[in-house]
């Protein structure tokens, strides 16, 4: 009886402890929000930002959309690295070794499959439109890539073996294609006497559109691969999959 009592009091003490901790963190979070709000609301220096500079250089950028100009011309280096972040994500997801067999083929829902048949072409079309629109208004490679990725996700939902049945290596090449092209454009500019990623005025529009197309393709592919969640097994791997990673010789 006493034992039970003690356990009870202990538990309540624990609870009190936890609640004190959460109270403390609540206070700290409240303090943080107050500080953030204070920093946000107090008038500080109020610079103009880069809008006017972007506008001034827009004529040379090769596109009419300001955001696209920033993304693929003024700050194209960021975009290049960002594509590498996607690539990195794919590499990491693929590097995680499955600890149990890849999930079973889902039951294919007739509604879903017919919907997919209907939706996917439409999505590709919308993606294309977004790409094309990107040069003059809202839209661009990432939006298009996202739509394409969604189309890919739908396809995977109807056939989970889709990624693994693709010809060997094609997927990897597809993902790398955009990056190779981007790098080639960047280094090619240097080889032609410009700076890294510097386009000539005459060819800027064309280069940017080409970049957008290729980037959208790679992005869409990467997003779909993310959804796949693991490396599509290659035929030779099928037997090896499913081994838990507790082998000897591992560092414990």
């Amino acid at each position: 009886m006493r034992c039970v009592k003690m356990k009870g009091s202990e538990a309540s003490g624990k609870r009190r402890h936890i609640s004190l901790l959460s109270l403390l963190s609540l206070v700290m979070l409240a303090g943080l929000s107050a500080a953030l709000a204070w920093a946000f609301l107090t008038p500080g220096p109020d610079p103009l930002g880069l809008a006017h500079r972007v506008d001034a250089a827009l004529a040379e950028s090769g596109v009419e959309s300001r955001v696209t100009a920033v993304l693929l011309n003024y700050r194209a280096y960021d975009t290049l690295l960002e594509c590498f972040v996607l690539f990195l994500g794919v590499a990491i997801v693929w590097s995680l070794q499955p600890s149990r067999p890849v999930r079973q083929e889902p039951r294919v829902d007739p509604v879903l499959s017919s919907l997919v048949r209907l939706l996917v072409p439409l999505m590709v079309l919308v993606g294309g439109y977004l790409l094309w629109a990107g040069s003059s208004q809202a839209g661009g490679a990432f939006q298009a890539g996202a739509i394409l990725g969604a189309a890919g996700v739908l396809l995977i939902l109807t056939s989970s073996r889709l990624l693994s049945t693709m010809p060997k290596g094609l997927l990897a090449w597809g993902i790398c294609l955009g990056l190779f092209f981007f790098l080639a454009v960047a280094v090619g500019a240097v080889a032609l006497g410009g700076n890294f990623l510097e386009y000539r005025r005459s060819s800027a529009t064309m280069i940017i559109i080409a970049l957008e197309v290729v980037a959208a393709f790679s992005i869409g592919l990467s997003l779909a691969v993310f959804f796949g969640g693991s490396r599509p097994e290659e035929p030779s791997e099928r037997t090896a999959a499913g081994r838990p990673p507790h082998g000897e010789g591992e560092e414990p």
Binding site: S22, L29, A51, F226
Partner: protein, 107 residues
């Protein structure tokens, strides 16, 4: 000082950041932690977007580009986090990092 929508959006963004942070600290479940991080990300993006609207008519495209770039980066991060969480879940057959500790303490 008139309360413009910009201020509301900005404050909301910052508030979301704090809420996400609270979730990240207090939720033991991995999936919730990842969701909390995503809330933080949204908060930051919302905040960034409002910066571009500081001067009325001319909208600064640079923060917009930053947000677009940031979204892609965060998608990658989330994808990796989810894939990793799956592996952790499969390995330990549990959904959070805390449970293992408490379980072993119980014994």
């Amino acid at each position: 000082m008139s309360v413009s929508p910009t201020f509301v959006y900005g404050l909301t963004g910052l508030f979301l950041f704090v809420v996400g942070l609270g979730g990240l600290i207090s939720c033991p479940q991995l999936l919730r932690k990842i969701l909390a991080v995503n809330i933080m990300v949204s908060g930051v993006f919302l905040f960034l977007v409002t910066i571009g609207y500081g001067h009325g008519v001319i909208i600064d495209p640079v923060p917009h580009a930053m947000v677009l770039t940031g979204i892609v980066v965060s998608v990658s991060g989330t994808a990796v986090a989810l894939a990793l969480a799956c592996r952790v879940h499969e390995t330990f057959n549990m959904s959070d990092l805390l449970k293992r500790r408490t379980r072993s303490n119980d014994r």
